[in-house]
Amino acid sequence: MSTLAAIAEELQRVDDETRLELLLDYAQQLPPLPEAYHPLRDRGLNMVHECQSPVFLMVEVEHGLVRLHADVPAEAPTARGFTALLVMAFDGATPDAVLEAPDDILHRLGLIHLLGMQRTRGLNAIYQRIKNEVRRQRQAG
């Protein structure tokens, strides 16, 4: 079972309150952004603008595997939690695994009714950015 499927299964299994707690746990587990990427972040590059919160996201394909680096402030725990979840699911995955992952990810994670349409639109933009970047880099490389 893929990492994403395992994450989705866990979230689907629990009640709403626990789902929020798990998302908060993910937020706390986002790996710190490596120093090398700080200048890009500080210059406001590689931001996901559709999201209400400032989300820095670098998507690279190295040695045939997807590498994700992200930074989201602690004051945006929902975006941070969802981003951390995506990093956990897709960092080190193959480009195919990313591109074949379902588009209705927020629905599969059981988060849509909790977050509402407005919030999910912004979060979806983070997810689509990963997919679009992987697709673009694969076509270029």
């Binding site: 945006a76 939690g81 919030r119 979806n124």
Partner: protein, 283 residues
């Protein structure tokens, strides 16, 4: 320095700190981010979420006065409780919750100036403990139409050339695309604004520390630069009515306008309505 029209509606962080143990008060935190309250909140504050607690999940409307009464009961809010709202994003969502409480006739509502941001910057106490209060008997009134505008009234208002305030960003107001071509759209089929509307972005009413600007500064912005008149019926809107409730609050309570309505359908309704007039550009 001139006072606000209704200065008692705004309280400072210090005032809240001094009243943390006041049982006649209920602190309500209302944020854009659904998890933020759980990362820490003012001691004894309850969370009210604008989506899950205030909005009907089937029909695009607010929860209805009976469910609103149940919500208040559950949060230990009685009809004579003083509710103090605060939140993230310059108190956007706190103003939205305040407006909904006024919609159902709750008498004593206050806003903590500066919201979460100021409380945290002042290093005041925060807790993760979620409080619980004994249930109250709460009687809610049916919605008060004097502060809420619906589509047909907005149409008539626009056709009569009466003042409309569009509080979105200039790019949204002008109807420009905000995204790169392969990324999702804003949610409306058409961009632009209601013809004749003035563009006064909601954030111009707030200082960098999330407090509201002074009476003088607000008068310059709304009365002088934009020719609004406190005695003329005015309607504010944005995309879903949350930013415009911030402006509704400013015009009504800080500047003393006597007839301001929030058009909560806002651009997600108008920009998707067949046949309504739309204007693009700077207006």
């Amino acid at each position: 320095m001139a006072d606000y029209a209704h200065p008692d509606v705004l309280v400072s962080t210090q005032w809240v700190a001094d009243h943390l143990d006041d049982s006649a008060l209920r602190l309500v935190e209302s944020n854009e981010d659904i998890l933020l309250y759980h990362t820490g909140h003012i001691p004894n504050a309850v969370k009210i979420d604008w989506i899950n607690d205030l909005q009907d999940q089937v029909v695009r409307d607010y929860v209805g006065h009976k469910r609103f009464a149940a919500l208040c009961s559950d949060k230990g809010i009685a009809n004579d409780t003083t509710v103090v709202f605060y939140g993230d994003r310059n108190n956007w969502w706190a103003c939205y919750a305040f407006w909904v409480f006024k919609l159902y006739g709750h008498e004593r509502c206050l806003i903590m100036d500066g919201g979460r941001k100021k409380w945290i910057e002042e290093e005041r106490p925060m807790t993760k403990t979620v409080p619980s209060f004994p249930a109250t008997e709460y009687v809610a009134q049916p919605q008060d139409p004097s502060i809420r505008a619906f589509r047909d009234e907005v149409m008539a208002h626009q056709q009569a050339g009466k003042p409309l305030v569009d509080v979105r960003s200039p790019a949204e107001f002008r109807g420009e695309l905000l995204h790169m071509p392969d990324y999702p759209q804003e949610g409306s089929l058409r961009g632009g604004h209601i013809p004749g509307a003035r563009n006064i972005p909601w954030s111009h009413a707030a200082n960098d520390d999330a407090t509201f600007k002074s009476r003088e500064d607000l008068e310059v912005l709304y009365l002088q630069e934009n020719n609004l008149d406190p005695n003329t019926a005015t309607i504010a809107y944005c995309r879903i009515g949350e930013r415009s409730s911030h402006t509704w609050f400013v015009l009504t309570y800080l500047l003393g306008f006597d007839n301001v309505k929030n058009y909560d359908g806002s651009w997600t309704e108008w920009g998707n309505l067949v046949g309504v007039p739309i204007e693009r550009g700077d207006g």
